[in-house]
């Protein structure tokens, strides 16, 4: 393939893959190529769109539709308009669930990220034998089923006889902590399960990014007399910004939909709903209280929350990467 240099290429009519840097507006008219391009675009996107409309969209449309009803799939349904949404916004349980979800999300995302970065740094520096073995081990938590893990962890976190309480008591950090009744303790238990599951995966991601940092940067900084810690702070960390963003966004979308772990601990989210998450709230409204329309309204609410948070994440990460490029 002929390689044209940058300047020459920009003189020619813009090809289908114009670089994003060069133009913000939509592609200018390309006779022939563009129309072919447009058709190809539709063709390639078509299989996905068809399947998606049938299987992905149908539930969404159904949910939006029933959110305007008092919906009983087995009985009569009545149209209630915006009533579900109105009730929802005044429902203290919703805001409680929101608080819980955020708390669990914070507890399971940020410590995990710090630990993953630290762990990755450790793995990068050490000359370990059987490196790929260790890396494989890191993914083991991800493949175990959530239900089985919840059983194991609830045993470990038992109030009277759990190992963790035994350890805390021995270390003088308190004893007989109730990891189900307490608000923060229950969040800690759930966050621990989530962290355990995902930390290996995230560590590998950070490790990969670290390994991609050119060695010259490290060499030159150590020539300048930088300590290991300074290297970490000024060389490693800045290069990780994109990765941090990615991990944050994926973790957020997943974290805001936590469902299985709280449900296994107590189907109603706890006696004072201390670990009722948004999705568990939704599920109970539909399948315990028989209020499918209300549940649908909750679902729409959750969608908005996730959208907002993702948008915020995106804006922040944009800002950071614009600031931080060297």
């Amino acid at each position: 393939m002929a390689v044209l240099n940058e300047r020459e290429r920009s003189k020619k009519p813009l090809s289908p893959w114009k670089s994003k840097k060069t133009s913000d507006k939509k592609a200018a008219a390309f006779p022939g190529v563009k129309s072919l391009n447009g058709r190809w675009g539709y063709l390639y996107v078509a299989p996905f769109v068809i399947m998606f409309v049938v299987f992905g969209l149908a539930p969404v449309i159904y949910s939006v539709y029933i959110s305007f009803f008092h919906w009983d799939p087995l009985g009569t349904s009545t149209f209630t308009g915006l009533r579900n949404f109105n009730l929802l916004l005044h429902d203290s349980d919703l805001w409680l669930a929101l608080r819980n979800t955020f708390s669990i999300w914070a507890l399971s995302t940020f410590p995990q990220m710090f630990m993953a970065i630290g762990l990755a740094n450790l793995l990068r520096n050490t000359r370990l034998r059987g490196k790929s073995f260790f890396r494989t081990i890191l993914l083991v938590p991800n493949i175990t089923s959530v239900i089985a893990i919840t059983i194991v962890f609830s045993q470990l976190f038992g109030r009277d006889f759990g190992i963790i309480n035994d350890f805390l008591g021995w270390a003088g950090l308190g004893h007989h902590i109730d990891f189900i009744e307490g608000v923060i303790p229950s969040h800690v238990q759930i966050a621990t399960m989530i962290t355990w599951r995902w930390i290996g995966y995230n560590t590998l991601i950070f490790l990969a990014s670290m390994l991609a940092i050119p060695n010259e940067l490290f060499e030159s900084s150590s020539v300048d007399g930088a300590s290991k810690w300074q290297q970490f702070r000024f060389v490693t960390l800045p290069q990780l910004k994109n990765t941090i963003t990615f991990v944050l966004i994926v973790g957020t979308i997943g974290g805001l939909q936590v469902f299985a772990e709280p449900q296994q601990l107590a189907a109603d989210g706890g006696s004072s709903k201390q670990f009722l998450t948004l999705t568990l709230f939704l599920y109970n409204q539909a399948f315990v209280n028989n209020k499918y329309g209300y549940a649908a309204a909750i679902g729409i609410f959750i969608t908005f929350i996730v959208l907002i948070i993702s948008a915020v994440n995106f804006v922040i990460s944009r800002k950071i990467s614009n600031d931080g490029t060297r």
Partner: protein
Amino acid sequence: MIVFLSIFPFYWMFVVASNTNAEISKSPPSLIPGGRFLIVARKVLSAQGVYFNSALLNTFIVGISIAVAQVIFSAIAGFAFAKLDFKGRKGLILFVIGTMMLPSQLGIIPLFLLVKNLHMIDTLYGLIVPALVTAFGVFWMRQIIDAQIPNELLEAASIDGASVPRIFFKIVLPIVRQSGFVLGLFAFLAAWNDYLWPTIVLQSPRHFTLQVALTQLKPMYGLDYGLQMGGAFLATAPLLILFIFVGRKLVTGVMDGAVKG
């Protein structure tokens, strides 16, 4: 240390599975495996309604089908969203991402009605077909393709006269192979661990996937820890073995995907 933490709950599963209920309920609990594992394993494998080999096979079939399909569909559509320009592109991708955020539990009833009308109840198709495309898969591939494939490369190829399909197959796919592999892995895992949907779609024991098969072990009330854990252990072990063989490739896949993505 890391190894210990990763493995410990899994090891604990094995310990619990191999002890009698009485031993499990001692405090402090015994940390060494008891001798009952083979007995428990046999119980699991011969339990009523549990056709372990079928379940294993079914789960593999479903998992791999979903993984492969998702990767292909997502790659094609992701490519379109990332590199092909067409009207409504931006709006569509945003809409798709938006739907990703609606919890899946809401969709159980309408999805079931749909699957029933397509006569896919109690078939593995009922599990595979609704999972062929996901918003996440398309989003992931779009990001990967966007980041890993420079526009210049494609421009050069098109100027050389390559058609779009040729470019897709010869240039794009090889580059994103590793990341696609990772997507496939996650799709596979999600299918492997899924319970809520399979339990409602599958009816005959021979069609069950592993998670549904494991539920056949549960006693009426309460929990038989040993049996549960034995089942869970046996359900995870094949994956673990797979991992040991395929592990290195997976890990580099994850890492490669991350570097560019």
